[in-house]
Symmetry: C2
Subunit: 428 residues, 2 copies
């Protein structure tokens, strides 16, 4: 598949540092607010935020069929709803206008002033109004690690795990954009060996290194999405840190699953990187242990993406400590399988729905995507540069996820997904 | 508390049959579409739907401070967001204008033609754009019944159950309004004693007799709602049938809770009955077995409502079979406790969020709120009028929930919450 906007040879007249996540081949979509309090949909090249509302108003989308206010919105939902053809035309046009050889905007200082901002001049907002947020549990390594810790080696994977992408519904209201501080939650937990719960701030605040994909309007209620057409309904991806309070989760989760242990916050990166931009990094998905039921049986095998994921911890003294290096390609269940499974009962999927991968752990110890696994449930505390140790996170810790793809020609990345932990505040 | 619109002596100049759920003391809110394809917010008196958009445009809300388009919307979210003061002023004004003694609209035939519709002339739509849908599990009788069936009498209630209102997140996209047909879902299930799942239409399609409350904007992320202020954020209630496919649920639910076994459809009644209208039916909540943690400890004891709930099954030959008679007042955890618990970790609650009670079962066999309990997991099939039996529902079955409150002076009800089961359609 040839996607014009992906041409690796193209350079932009906007400065892009080597290795930057946002070369002209990326063209992600986000929402930001300017110093003048104008909220707009935008894209990013290098360290510049581009106001697509102004870009459109000034006529640069000339031959692309778009409603007048398509980009003057506080979420991408309507744009995503417009479908793949529009996404492609828009990315292609942006690539064309910002191409180093194209003088049209490059040489129009007045327009550049209206359209282009330094990143520091804008504040990124949540890119979508999240309709439903689903979180899967699709990393075999993660599910196995958790299983070994809690149920022992012999019963590590639940009997259903290899037969379907297990998932559950998360909370949409508390999905926040990178940079939003994370307040340590209060809740109930059960001290070991006790029968009566105690109440207090969580003692086991954890990250979950995930990605999430964002869907467009896919199906009517009652009509499943087939595995073959699922790909058509995925707009793009973000990084996701699905914050977890393990002590709260442990006490509450039987029999209905995680609730308050998760729904206090889920952080996503601000720029949605389109599936089109990620296409050059498509790779083989892991061979599946069992042939799944036909509605999950994918004809293609290159159903994954080589997206390198990193989690680091910045302590209050400014030290950067690497926590883990993992990769999206380790994920056992593909996004198409997740979407086909989610809708096989007729559940309807809409524009702006978000589906998390679940914690992505790799095969090696340094590739585990949660502190629970990295510290092996507290048995192996992690020593930081300043000599302190962590089993879970402390107040003041800043957790930073990064994700990027890289080949000989180009790097495409997600930027950062950041959350700094604030101390708990005693409830009134 | 004196609520003007609740005056039991008031009669309307619109005809209201004795015992009707919608006397002038109810004044619920809903959204409907007229024959002319106009979508509007409305209320109901007797068998009449009242277009509040037109009512407002024609000046009947004269001294109530409202934006011009407050009722010309396809959901109640903005109206609910406006807060209790607005809800009260609006209900009071409607009560005043439709009072039998008030000639203003009564004697204006031209305006009546624009504002008032026979119910059959309009189609009820979903009253809210559901932000997040949470379902609790707050009936002790239901949790105990399920526990006895699956874990035996001695371990019926999970250890956490008496310490907090257990809940989980449901799916917003598949919340549908009464009357929407329910397609029997396909899915995976595990035959007894087998290790490999089978795929097919659910064999155990069940109802859950519930109510749900609808919230207004309540708290910022990170700031819990206190038990004392929780009541302020509840706008009103609806009937809820949380359809469940027990075989799918059973196979998938460990460890993350119900997912495809529930998210294919949840039906709600179209009219949101305000908490103000329900106030005369406030009653004592069940005495709790344990004193809960302080954030759940309510100073008041009259935290429940005497809402009679009925489930009936209409078979295709037109027979109406009573399935159960239960009551909201049996619910162990109050709505305030549910809301305080939901937000104790800082989870933010918005206008248009919906929180289900969980299946409401009472103490006697005929008061169980699900077929699972009524047929005791299939051991005691229910015999219908036509001589057929049911353990779960058949295709063509129409399940009807009703709910109403009644005292010597007035009845206030919810109308019906209906769903007819369509046969499964084989996925492509």
């Amino acid at each position: 598949m040839l996607i014009k906007a992906n041409d690796p040879k193209r350079k932009s007249w906007l400065k892009v540092e080597k290795g930057c996540d946002f070369p002209i081949q990326n063209i992600p979509f986000g929402v930001f607010i300017t110093k003048d309090d104008i909220i707009t949909i935008g894209t990013r090249i290098g360290e510049y935020a581009i106001d697509l509302g102004a870009f459109h108003q000034l006529g640069y989308f000339d031959d692309v069929p778009l409603t007048d206010d398509m980009f003057m919105q506080d979420s991408l939902n309507d744009f995503i709803s417009d479908g793949r053809k529009t996404w492609r035309l828009v990315r292609n046009k942006i690539a064309e206008v910002f191409d180093a050889e194209n003088p049209r905007l490059r040489d129009n200082e007045k327009h550049k002033e209206i359209i282009i901002f330094n990143l520091e001049e804008v504040e990124m907002l949540l890119p979508i109004s999240v309709g439903d947020y689903t979180d899967f549990y699709s990393s075999k390594e993660h599910a196995t690690n958790v299983g070994v810790m809690f149920r022992g080696k012999d019963n590590a994977l639940m009997p259903n795990w290899l037969h379907m992408p297990i998932g559950y519904h998360g909370r949409s209201s508390s999905v926040v954009v990178s940079g939003t501080p994370i307040r340590r939650p209060y809740g109930q937990s059960i001290p070991k060996g006790e029968e009566t719960p105690v109440f207090g701030p969580t003692k086991s605040l954890d990250m979950e290194v995930e990605t999430a994909f964002i869907t467009t309007d896919a199906n009517n209620l009652g009509e499943p999405i087939s595995i073959d057409e699922a790909r058509e309904y995925i707009f793009g991806m973000v990084l996701l840190n699905d914050w977890s309070a393990r002590d709260i989760q442990k006490w509450e989760y039987a029999p209905l699953g995680p609730f308050l242990g998760k729904n206090f916050a889920s952080t996503i990166s601000p720029w949605i990187v389109t599936m089109d931009a990620l296409e050059p990094f498509r790779c083989e998905s892991p061979k599946q242990d069992l042939t799944p039921l036909s509605y999950l049986n994918q004809k293609t095998t290159n159903n994954s993406f080589d997206i390198k994921l990193r989690a680091t911890l910045e302590t209050e003294n400014g030290d950067i400590n690497e926590l883990c290096k993992t990769n999206f390609k380790y994920l056992y269940w593909s996004m198409e399988q997740q979407l086909a499974h989610h809708s096989i009962n007729g559940c309807n999927v809409r524009s702006g729905d978000m589906m998390g991968s679940g914690t992505i752990s790799g095969p090696t110890k340094n590739s585990y995507g949660s502190m629970l696994e990295l510290s092996w449930a507290g048995k192996e505390p992690i020593t930081l540069k300043d000599g302190t140790t962590r089993v879970f996170f402390n107040d003041g810790d800043k957790v930073i996820l990064k994700g990027y793809c890289k080949n000989d020609e180009v790097s495409i990345g997600f930027g950062k997904c950041i959350g700094k932990i604030l101390p708990a505040v005693k409830p009134k």
